[in-house]
Point group: D2
Chain length 176, copies 4
């Protein structure tokens, strides 16, 4: 990995979460995702998502309506599958393996709620040296303490966006 002492491009932050928010918390999760997207865009970040519905659409909506740039890394081969708030769709044709691209293309990752797909992205993000900020998302613990990236738990969208923007400026860390 090359040094990245100065970030000449804007920070890239991925927002991950369920494509179909369900359950008693669905409304709150989507509202949070939209606010996270809005705050990231105001903070100058490019918002990356998986490009589909639910949390991905809410975060893209928040960012685009705030004047931000939104990238959608789609599992399928057709850019038209992207939700209407994705400005730059990337159709990968990779299926589930696109989860790796969603997190690797970002400097930092925010997880809002989420099911097993989100857990896989959290694991892949840490594996690739990206810090993860969790907002009402998976609690993940190990007996051992590893160096490298960590999961930072945030209490609300404002804290999540602030922590992610700060960590993004530091760039990726050496994976554990």
């Amino acid at each position: 990995m090359t040094d990245r002492p100065t970030l000449l491009r804007p920070p890239y932050v991925a927002v991950i979460g369920d494509g179909e928010a369900i359950g008693p918390d669905a409304h709150r999760i989507l509202a949070w995702a939209e606010e996270v997207g809005q705050l990231l865009a105001r903070g100058g970040a490019v918002v990356i998502t998986g490009g589909l519905g639910g949390v991905m659409r809410a975060a893209s909506r928040g960012a685009l309506l705030a004047g931000g740039e939104t990238i959608g890394i789609l599992p399928g081969a057709d850019a038209a599958e992207a939700n209407e708030f994705v400005r730059t769709p990337i159709a990968t044709g990779l299926g589930v393996a696109r989860n790796l691209v969603v997190v690797t293309s970002a400097d930092t990752v925010i997880a809002v709620g989420g099911r097993h797909g989100t857990l896989s992205e959290i694991g892949l993000a840490l594996r690739m040296g990206r810090h993860v900020v969790g907002l009402s998302s998976w609690r993940v613990e190990s007996d051992q303490r590893f160096g490298g990236p960590r999961i930072h738990r945030a209490r609300g969208p404002r804290e999540a966006a602030e922590v992610a923007l700060r960590l993004a400026k530091d760039g990726p860390v050496q994976p554990a």
Copy 2:
């Protein structure tokens, strides 16, 4: 997905974990991985690993010396990178994305210890509908209860192998 009412082929069980076991528990983790491999082979299972060192090598060693079949799904492009206990190396050239193949090619997954790469495989396994048996591995929890596959915590190698073999016979479940 097609039905799989009768499993005509042997069960395929992936054993995942650190490629370079370190820390105070390293000796116990490797001994457990080898015993898991041995018990799986005796139970008639094919043992799949990532094909490299540490837990992958220990599990392959246990299985091969017990007369079992061992498959190594390698990240690189050279089959010669496989450890000497892998009978069937599959060089993927995929890098980290090979983690998806390790778990998808298995009916059930056993995680023995492990760092961030192992966490990514646990998430991907659940995403693909594979049950995971954890042995001194990641504790993963969500506020919500999802249907679909689960993480089963085992207290020792014998319990891990038994649970994995039983679950493998049931086949994959609908992902949450």
Copy 3:
């Protein structure tokens, strides 16, 4: 695949070719790639490349200096590997498998020169239903005539850009 009757977003055209143009034709190949990038940007297209050197850098340079948008789909995990004319780097971490993303994310593909990596992208593009315009690139023939996408040979950068822009407006075709 969903219908795509109206292309609301700009056409996405991938320019593929050698990362390190060599041989007697190197100078001409790079000049052509830059002119192709320039003409595509003037035609309103987003230019996608693999984000590295050689033809990828030349095409990005042509497009960016003409005021266009440039996306670089990188094989590695570090966005800083992108050449300086890529405005939107997508670090995939996929290695060679990123070749699939380069062509799938585009509506049409232009190959300028190129070695075996370029041939793999031509094959993947056709497999994914994308037309390919070849400029001093691989000649590929089969005994059989298949329906679906085709390789169109162009005599110069202007013809290549014109054909690609026209085909991009028609959208992907059913793969053979």
Copy 4:
């Protein structure tokens, strides 16, 4: 890449081709694929295919009935999708990206007929340093002569198997 001076494991040869042989040559293509599989197995090789129908099934059938080992690298997530002559199914969940695994896991590749998916595998094989033997398959030419792996055209199944077995013993070459 590590040295591979002595091949302690059997040669791995991938047989690629159409999953649904059609056209006037379909019968001959399938008969050739089956004979290729048979000859490879008799020559001591493990036969790798994409695990589905058409040429993949014919080659697996030839190899398995001759007492050989057959591996099927499947695009989907369900091992039950493999044809009945695949002894070791590897469900990848990668979709088209599994084409990279089919060729990278082999020492040499034989293409029998084939459409665009086969062309993508030929390109990927050469990119990964694997020689390709073509049997009534794509003719692929470039203005330039590159070092590295080549496409060898065979006139019949016997020549194809012989050339592939000989090249497999030499191991992969440096990609151009």
